[in-house]
């Protein structure tokens, strides 16, 4: 089983280095939840809730944003046009090794 290392900065500024498997069909939201980080993932990964909104801090090549993801970010808050992504739309692949993301603040 191969894994990649991903660093997640939580809302208190603490860094967590996660080992994410590339062969379990997981996305970043699910990995965060499996490590019990405070990511709700309310909609289950359909890009329909924005509770896994995060800021990408490294210049990794990421999958293009889908219309669904763009649309959901329209309803989210604290959106940064250049770095905001939904964790559930980032599948764990070898390309993500070394990725650093920061969890966006929770909206009310």
């Amino acid at each position: 089983m191969s894994t990649v290392k991903i660093t997640v900065i939580d809302r208190e500024g603490e860094q967590h280095v996660l080992e994410a498997p590339t062969d379990m069909n997981m996305n970043l939201m699910e990995v965060c939840k499996s490590y019990e980080l405070p990511v709700k993932g309310t909609c289950g990964g359909m890009a329909l809730c924005s509770t896994c909104h995060c800021y990408v801090k490294t210049d990794h090549e990421l999958p293009e944003m889908s219309e669904d993801e763009e649309d959901m970010l329209d309803q989210a808050f604290f959106v940064d046009d250049d770095t905001s992504r939904l964790g559930c739309q980032l599948p764990i692949t070898d390309d993500l090794d070394g990725l650093v993301v920061e969890l966006a603040p929770e909206a009310e």
Binding site: T42, C43, E70, D74, Q75
Partner: protein, 335 residues
């Protein structure tokens, strides 16, 4: 006052199926939901998404599953209180529960089944520090009466269908309508987008894209919004109303105040019958938690089925209950 055997809070798939299983035991049900239509998340969030893990259905659209459930429970004549939020529960002297909604509708039942899913859907509120101070003093998250905007100036924020539709509608009513949106493109229906563009070109509305409302000013009532544009920076605009339309998000809401044991936004239950720590109150579906819990529709159906057995014993403590297959007895609905 509405009286029933099992009062179900939440008309999502799990709440709806409870009506069927309860009906087989000759128990009547009434459902309360804050949304104006049954189906919960399936109808509100993803009606057109296929679901692949409903046993016996290789795939089914969420909206179709709700339609099927409504058809399946029809013989048991459930009652509905829709568009009202279950607000308060109290125990009556006769041992039954009295549930009052935010609109004052009173329901009385010996058993309550909370099938509240993720909670009640409420408008997403933008994180502007003082927004609560201006609620109903210029800030509204839902448009209840469009007439209240007649000859007023209105700033709408958002990029979805409701933001576009209300911009179009209020263009003829309000003195001045400004639509503020984060991007240059909109996700709403194409003809609504075109109509908004036309209104903007004809100077009937003011469209500000690549911008967000980040501040609110006013003494008693709102009189100004602060808009931050991606390139032009901050600007202010005077307005009578600010209507942020960013969709709905679920919140546990008043359920959290009912004296139930809650862990991580979910109600703790005993897996024997999905009972909570309060006798007579059960919790099923996505809203409950127990070791090994999975938030799946099919698990909610199972929970509902076991739950009604205990509900029966609470409602008819002296009656014998025998388990029957629908293949033997069919479905005998209520008159």
């Amino acid at each position: 006052m509405i009286e029933t055997d099992i009062l179900i809070i939440g008309a999502g798939p799990c709440g709806l199926f409870t009506v069927f299983e309860a009906g087989l035991l000759k128990l009547r049900c009434h459902l309360v939901d804050s949304l104006p239509q049954p189906g919960g998340q399936l109808t509100e969030i993803y009606p057109k998404k296929p679901i692949y893990d409903i046993p016996g259905f290789p795939d089914i659209l969420a909206g179709d599953l709700v339609d099927n459930l409504m058809k399946q429970i029809e013989p048991f004549k459930p009652g509905f209180t829709l568009g009202e939020r279950a607000e308060q529960i109290e125990k009556l002297e006769d041992g039954r529960f009295k549930l009052t909604t935010n609109k004052g509708t009173v329901h009385v039942a010996p058993v309550i089944a909370i099938a509240g899913g993720l909670g009640c859907f409420e408008p997403r509120k933008p994180p502007i520090g003082n927004i609560a101070e201006f609620e109903d003093k210029g800030v509204e998250y839902i448009i209840r009466d469009p007439e209240m905007y007649r000859d007023k100036s209105v700033v709408i924020a958002g990029g979805g269908d409701s933001a576009l539709d209300w911009t179009i509608f209020l263009a003829d009513v309000a003195k001045e309508v400004t639509l503020v949106h984060r991007r240059t493109s909109f996700r709403g229906a194409l003809d609504s987008v075109e109509k908004v563009m036309e209104l903007n070109e004809a100077n009937k509305i003011k469209l500000i894209t690549e911008a967000q409302v980040i501040g609110l000013n006013g003494k008693e009532n709102l009189n100004e919004v602060v808009i931050k544009h991606k390139k032009l920076g901050e600007m202010t605009q005077s307005t009578d109303h600010f209507i942020p339309l960013f969709g709905l998000a679920p919140k546990l809401g008043p359920i959290a105040e009912w004296g139930l044991n809650i862990s991580k936004n979910a109600i703790e239950v005993d897996t024997f019958d999905y009972s909570t720590n309060v006798d007579g109150i059960f919790a099923i579906g996505d809203i409950n938690t127990y070791p090994g819990k999975l938030k799946l529709i099919l698990c909610g159906f199972h929970e509902a089925t076991l739950m009604v057995q205990s509900a029966f014993k609470i409602i008819y403590p002296d009656k014998k209950l025998s388990f029957k297959y629908t293949t033997v007895n069919g479905v005998n609905g209520f008159e």
